[in-house]
Symmetry: C2
Subunit: 107 residues, 2 copies
DNA sequence: CTGAATCCCAGTGGATACTG
DNA sequence: CAGTATCCACTGGGATTCAG
């Protein structure tokens, strides 16, 4: 359950290369989904859970901690929300989304 | 062991959204590493295995199939190599690498 | 409602030995 | 060398329950 972070071994690589940590983190079930759900604004534990197909609270809690450890998400008076870092990550992903749509067409 | 592809459920999401498939695929152990190793040119099964910490042949074989299914890798007379799609993916990842290095510094 | 603690199961990754 | 077939161990994800 430890959070994938740069400069440490992660699933798939123990080189510590930062991008490997990104893929480990975002490749884990629900993490991308959670960040995606928060793009539009803060949400409470409960609503987040509902919006993520009623995922287990244990797992949601786990993911919140991971994303918080990674400084992508933080608590706010109105629930959980993306940090600045989290927001920039989401926009950085845009080109990858574009690539993915080309990929999708070529398959 | 089925390959994560667009328009089908993958780990973390059964929405079929293409980028989720990318993260499932690249989040799996060794896949990024393999693509990375092939960036400089074709490699044989054996050398690929050596360059990836002598990973199990069963797993390597499995990953090669996945990446081939995803059209990111193909066989060539001199071994395995990236496809055009595989190459564009690698370059598309550049901004993400840049983000990851900022992330690394902020942690 | 939030979130922590247990327990359980499947899937994934890995070691190994074997065949072409 | 390339690739396959078994078999096994582990961890990650999930259900459930309980506490703050």
């Amino acid at each position: 359950m430890n959070t994938p972070l740069p400069n440490q071994p992660v699933r798939g690589s123990h080189s510590g290369v930062a991008i490997m940590a990104v893929f480990d983190l975002l490749g884990r079930k629900w993490n991308m989904r959670i960040l995606w759900e928060l793009r539009t604004g803060p949400q409470t534990f409960r609503t987040l859970q509902e919006n993520c197909d009623n995922m287990s609270p244990s797992v949601l809690n786990n993911r919140i901690k991971q994303l918080a450890d990674a400084r992508l998400l933080a608590t706010s008076p109105t629930g959980y929300q993306l940090t600045e870092l989290g927001n920039t990550l989401m926009t950085t992903l845009d080109p990858l989304r574009a690539w993915a749509s080309v990929w999708e067409k070529q398959l």
